[in-house]
């Protein structure tokens, strides 16, 4: 149940549902639990037929960058005593 993969929105329908695509398979999902507006091209996290959140690309990229920084700090921390 928990291994949801983000799915891309290909169509928004009038009844508060959207058509999403993941690995080439299209599905209709409910948007009743979405807090923000959904657009074609968004990536949604789907759970048992409902979108529960939108992927924040900015956040995802930022956290990857942040972790690279942390790793760098860690490396420096361990290199210092040897210098």
């Amino acid at each position: 149940m928990c291994l949801s993969i983000p799915s891309k929105v290909v169509e928004i329908r009038e009844d508060n549902t959207a058509v999403v695509e993941v690995f080439g398979v299209r599905r209709v999902v409910s948007l009743e639990l979405m807090q923000e507006e959904v657009h074609v091209g968004d990536w949604l996290l789907i759970h048992v037929g409902f979108a529960i959140n939108k992927l924040s690309e900015e956040e995802a990229l930022q956290s990857l960058e942040l972790f690279e920084e942390i790793l760098k700090e860690e490396e420096e921390l361990w290199q210092q005593p040897e210098m």
């Binding site: 149940m1 928990c2 291994l3 949801s4 993969i5 983000p6 891309k8 999902v29 409910s30 009743e32 639990l33 979405m34 807090q35 990536w43 996290l45 759970h47 048992v48 037929g49 409902f50 529960i52 959140n53 992927l55 924040s56 690309e57 956040e59 995802a60 990229l61 930022q62 956290s63 990857l64 972790f67 690279e68 942390i70 790793l71 860690e74 490396e75 361990w78």
Partner: protein
């Protein structure tokens, strides 16, 4: 510009995983002891086994598998109830896929009931129950709802729509359970508190439950029990990052709630979903969990305003006390005090195609994950 797909791919970057492996091992060495982390969610158990993270960090980090698999914690008595309801020829029983294969007291499952002619249907979305009810006015459609906070808002939407449409033949059995209550119960369990048999240093917090409830509800554990909680995504790099964040907290003697899965999880969570749940559900005083026993205020029942849609009120089912298979150690596995391979039935009598215990049924169950990834099941 990077697409979301690229973002997901970058969470599988082998080079970065190796960097994290080294950073984690160094940090654990500086602590001078093996770190023991409980991953609450079955999705994490599955990912840890699938990518071999437990083997990668062997001797440095021990993963203790938690009870966060909805099918695994469903007590046998509730399975018996579903079976009894489904045997009624007036009833169409609907539920999510994994529930169909969970054995009840007589080693029978809903699949057996279906083979005997019972109308049991597997739903992808619980909203499908609305259509089934409308198409079958002479039948009683019962949705047997299970799951943690990730599936509860959907059931709330179903109940509200049933009421809006004035459906007279659709009801719900709520087996929805609450994550923070279970974590607190584990932290209070005698095995952990007194004997030190299961020392837990920190938790990997569930990713998708937290999309709904936010990271806020875990702040209490971090403060009260001085255990770091890091809410993680499900890709291998997500888990490595989360383990590193935990080890770093331990090294710095901190116990805080941190979110690694920031691309989906906020502190407040999905407030709209929380409000829908509060509209329809209220806390039960107590609920029995398989493995954990009776846990106070750990599950949700349907509010009085929606009483006519509550199958437990409409269909009174009285059953003999449930029977467990005497050799099955699922309850111990769920509590994290035993690993699946310690069970006599594991891999011989009990397999994913013929599960004896619930932990072998769902792919999120620890036994199923061990069987698939550690038993030559590739």
């Amino acid at each position: 510009m990077a697409t979301a797909r690229d973002v997901i791919e970058s969470y599988r970057d082998t080079e970065k995983i190796k960097l994290y492996e080294r950073a984690i091992k160094r940090a654990v060495e500086s602590l001078g002891r093996e770190v023991r982390i409980m991953e609450f969610c079955g999705g994490h158990t599955h990912a840890i086994m699938k990518y071999g993270i437990d083997q990668l960090l062997e001797g440095y980090v021990r993963f203790i598998h938690g009870p966060g698999c909805p099918v695994c914690v469903l007590p046998t008595g509730r399975v018996d109830m579903a079976i009894e309801l489904a045997r009624n020829p007036e009833v169409i029983l609907c539920t999510y896929g994994d529930v169909l294969r969970v054995p009840g007291s007589q080693r029978k499952s809903l699949l057996n009931v279906r083979a005997e002619g019972g109308d049991v249907r597997m739903l992808y979305s619980c909203l499908d129950a609305l259509r089934i009810a409308e198409e079958n006015p002479s039948k009683q459609v019962i949705f047997f709802a299970i799951g943690f906070e990730t599936t509860t808002p959907q059931t709330a939407v179903l109940l509200m729509k049933a009421k809006e449409r004035g459906l007279k033949n659709l009801t719900v059995v709520s087996n929805h359970v609450i994550t923070p209550a279970a974590i607190q119960h584990i932290l209070n369990a005698p095995e952990i508190r007194e004997i030190g048999k299961v020392r837990i240093d920190a938790f990997i917090g569930p990713g998708h439950v937290s999309v709904i409830i936010g990271s806020k509800p875990y702040e209490y554990f971090a403060e009260e029990f001085l255990k770091p909680v890091v809410i993680s995504g499900f890709e291998p790099l997500d888990i490595m990052q989360s383990v590193y964040m935990i080890v770093r907290q331990l090294r710095e003697k901190r116990a805080q709630v941190e979110v690694q899965y920031t691309r989906f999880v906020s502190r407040e969570g999905n407030v709209k979903a929380q409000k829908l749940v509060a509209e329809v559900f209220e806390l039960r005083k107590e609920f029995e969990w398989r493995g954990l026993g009776v846990v106070p205020y750990s599950s949700l029942k349907i509010k009085k305003d929606y009483a006519q849609y509550d199958a437990e009120r409409r269909f009174l089912v009285s059953l003999p006390p449930p029977k467990e298979h005497p050799a099955c150690i699922c309850p111990k596995v769920i509590r994290g005090v035993a690993v699946p391979t310690e069970c006599k039935l594991f891999g011989t009598v009990c397999t994913p195609s013929n599960p004896i215990g619930s932990c072998m049924v769902s792919s999120e169950g620890a036994c199923a994950a061990y069987y698939k990834y550690r038993h030559g099941g590739h």
